[in-house]
């Protein structure tokens, strides 16, 4: 692996006295698409928030380019790491373009003017998410899928090289799921971006991601190439599900067919 830019070292995350992540070590491969998978409540969203600097660790640290992210200003961090949060605000009354323009926040000073390169970043983000025709539409009137794409566009306008996405495909119909995942793949392959996404559909994750990390109860139980992570053993341990794993004839990636739940 090339030197990771983003990594967690003996990370401990908690809500008050309730621990969520316990002594976790993780290095995010640069220029790759990493999928975080695991059952509900396993701590994957909290881990993602911590990687973005939104959740302060109880112990350990998140390191970006060799220094703890706690030592960077919020603005400087936002130029390096973009986060698509799970439950975004309705952005009431704002147009798609206005929302996407918010992604330029870390590149502008408090009283700084709107520059050509800000507009250019917004145009690129709108184009990548196929939202050009909807730029003047109100975000709160969009369908769930369109709204999700508008939020993704906002994160893209941030032009950070590391993108963290919490369930980017939830609320999307199949076509838009494929579109969003394809977009992530393109960002990684063509723009050299580093993408970490929390995903629920294991077959989809296996198909699009370069690396998968499976979590359970705040610990990593498997990580590596999709074929190493999506295995009947891992599925049984992580999800308590008995599953058949086939190979996608098209891509050679694992396909997961869940059969039944098994007691813990």
């Amino acid at each position: 692996m090339t030197d990771p830019r983003l990594a967690a070292h003996t990370l401990r995350l908690a809500y008050g006295a309730t621990p969520v992540i316990e002594g976790l070590d993780l290095a995010i491969e640069p220029g790759r698409f990493t999928a975080l998978v695991g059952p509900n409540g396993c701590g994957k969203s909290t881990l993602l928030r911590a990687l973005a600097g939104l959740h302060a660790p109880a112990a350990g640290q998140v390191v970006l380019d060799g220094a703890s992210i706690a030592r960077r200003s919020t603005r400087a961090l936002a130029r390096e790491i973009g986060l698509l949060a799970q439950s975004a605000s309705p952005a009431e009354g704002m147009t798609v373009e206005e929302l996407v323009a918010q992604g330029r926040y870390p590149h502008r000073s408090v009283l700084g003017p709107w520059r050509d390169r800000d507009q250019q970043a917004v145009e690129e983000a709108l184009a990548l998410t196929s939202l050009i025709s909807l730029r003047h539409a109100l975000v709160d009137r969009l369908s769930g899928g369109q709204r999700q794409r508008a939020w993704i566009a906002m994160v893209l306008a941030q032009q950070s090289t590391i993108l963290l996405l919490d369930e980017p495909t939830t609320y999307l119909d199949l076509a838009h799921q494929v579109e969003v995942l394809g977009l992530m793949e393109r960002l990684v392959k063509e723009h050299g971006a580093t993408v970490v996404a929390v995903l629920h559909d294991l077959s989809q994750a296996a198909r699009h991601a370069d690396t998968m990390v499976a979590l359970k109860a705040g610990r990593i139980i498997a990580s590596g190439r999709p074929s190493e992570v999506v295995t009947p053993e891992v599925l049984r341990t992580a999800f308590n599900v008995e599953a058949t794993v086939l190979t996608d004839p098209d891509t050679g990636t694992p396909l997961c067919l869940p059969r039944r739940t098994v007691p813990e």
Binding site: A78, A85, A91, E92, G93, M94
Partner: protein
């Protein structure tokens, strides 16, 4: 952009027209022409005395207080993510009024400059108290909890204010109209010392409008795109205290302006606070001026602007609470 500019221009014209209407309305007959003459070329006549001592202060008070409350409501809605937030409902105005009355009655403070700072102190303390009450306990501050805490604090401080005034008839005589939200009997000498604070707060609100838009996306999103939400919430709170404190110093605790106006703007134009704030300022001034003038001019009743605004604002509040599902909170 052109639509926003057109709305702004329309509001400015409306304010000018209603101001003229207000200047020409009152017990002593004064034609619009006489009023305009006295305004533009002040002399020593009876018309001049009426205009400069009775009618103009009222117009200025309505415009400044309304503008400040419109801006304060817009900022509070952005920062709390709560469509029902405004300085009246959240007890900020009541806090300012209570401390001013307390200072007047108990501590015998009469200097305008000192009373303004009492208003700021009261507004700030009430805001902190309401926010703490709403956020305490499980689940944090939902919209309806914030409003409940605000209404409790506002009612309690209002009762204390009334109690002080019942005991102290001298102070009551001095502030009777003021506490009822009436602009009657306001003097320019009382208003002028407040103007620099009001102007500064309004300027800050406009300059930071873009920050409030970012805050309105919620703390997580704001942080993830590089804003420091704690810092900007504090700055927003200072703006609100400056705005509401100025408005209360001038016009007493006027409710609902900060609720009705930003929502009307949002429904008409939508958009970020770069658009909502300036138009809320103009709209607040226009609505308050109209609320002060219309009953006097049309019904010959000098109804306090605070009451007229409540008559307009209360149904609006109910509609808003229902349509936003804020009751389910």
């Amino acid at each position: 952009m052109t639509r926003t500019a057109a709305c702004a221009l329309g509001l400015v014209l409306l304010i000018l027209l209603v101001a003229l209407w207000s200047l020409a309305t009152g017990a002593a007959g004064l034609s619009v022409a006489e009023a305009a003459r006295a305004l533009l070329a002040p002399g020593e006549g009876r018309a001049d005395a009426i205009l400069w001592q009775v009618r103009l202060p009222r117009v200025v008070a309505a415009i400044v207080a309304g503008a400040a409350l419109g801006a304060a409501g817009a900022i509070m809605q952005a920062v709390t993510g709560n469509p029902l937030a405004e300085p009246g409902l959240l007890g900020v105005n009541a806090g300012a009024a209570f401390v001013v009355v307390l200072a007047l009655s108990v501590f015998g403070v009469t200097a305008s400059a000192a009373l303004i700072w009492c208003a700021f102190g009261g507004a700030g303390s009430a805001a902190v108290l309401v926010y703490a009450m709403a956020s305490a306990g499980r689940g944090g501050g939902t919209p309806i909890r914030l409003v409940l805490a605000g209404v409790i604090v506002a009612t309690f401080l209002g009762a204390l204010t009334t109690a002080i005034l019942l005991i102290d008839s001298q102070t009551l005589d001095a502030v009777r109209f003021w506490t009822a939200g009436s602009l009657k009997g306001r003097q320019l000498a009382q208003i002028l010392p407040v103007l620099p604070y009001a102007a500064l707060s309004l300027a800050a609100a406009l300059v930071f409008a873009r920050q409030f838009t970012t805050l309105s996306l919620g703390g997580d999103v704001a942080r993830s795109i590089g804003q420091n939400p704690a810092l900007w919430r504090a700055i927003a709170a200072c703006c609100v205290v400056g705005l509401a404190g100025s408005a209360v110093s001038i016009a007493g605790p006027l409710g609902f302006v900060g609720l009705v106006v930003p929502h009307m703007v949002r429904l008409t134009l939508g958009g970020g606070y770069g658009r909502i704030l300036p138009l809320s300022i103009l709209g607040g001034a226009a609505l308050t001026l109209l609320a002060d003038t219309a009953p006097r001019a049309l019904l010959s009743v000098d109804m306090p602007a605070g009451i007229t605004l409540a008559l307009i604002g209360a149904p609006f509040f109910i509609w808003l609470a229902r349509s936003h599902g804020a009751v389910r909170g």
